[in-house]
Symmetry: C2
Subunit: 124 residues, 2 copies
């Protein structure tokens, strides 16, 4: 699929100053989450039966057009928060738990320094 | 100080679909974090001696002007991620651990449904 992985290393924000590169990578993931519709899509997919959903499942719930939903899903996928799989005519999306774990770990003050590597995809 | 608190209730993203209101509140906090300079400022303050810092401590480290640093700190404070206290001529900032905890809890897939109430401030 022509995917190029970009390594994002998240250190907990509160243990040590982030480097410029770390802060750029982390800000890009937070930017993907900084939209109410995308947050709703993410939570709808994660809590959908089987932990996955296609655009046809979720577009009616959020009252947004399918092209707009597809655009938001692409942003979430590019940030490494969703992964997708095509089956017949539909693309199914599921949350990447490691990516959410990495963000939660970066934010949590009790965590010791750790390296978590969520996969971030370039545009494809 | 003319502070008006706004209640933000974060439910873990992955346990149940977020409501429209929850997603708007949560997106606003992620938006505050969706900037590399703000992330660096947050991590610099949190990891500074005593867990607090003033603009004079951090502006030289990030190579950004003091007014720009002050603007970013205001955004973080408005989002409820920082609190501030004036002492003599300087305002000292510290991270609000409960706010980061709430975000981490919202992201973490293992968490049961919970209500965490970080304090979000309107402009002051």
């Amino acid at each position: 699929m022509g995917v190029e992985d970009v390594t994002v290393r998240c250190s907990p924000l509160v243990q040590a100053p982030l480097t410029e590169t770390q802060s750029i990578d982390l800000a890009a993931v937070f930017k993907a989450l900084a939209d109410p519709v995308r947050l709703r899509l993410l939570s709808l997919i994660a809590s959908h039966a089987g932990g996955e959903a296609c655009v046809c499942d979720i577009a009616p719930v959020v009252d947004v057009s399918q092209p707009t939903v597809s655009h938001h899903l692409k942003v979430l996928r590019t940030a490494g928060l969703l992964e997708s799989e095509r089956r017949a005519s539909w693309v199914f999306y599921r949350v990447v738990p490691e990516a959410l774990d990495a963000l939660a770990a970066a934010l949590h003050p009790d965590n010791a320094l750790l390296d978590v590597v969520p996969r971030m995809e370039t545009d494809r």
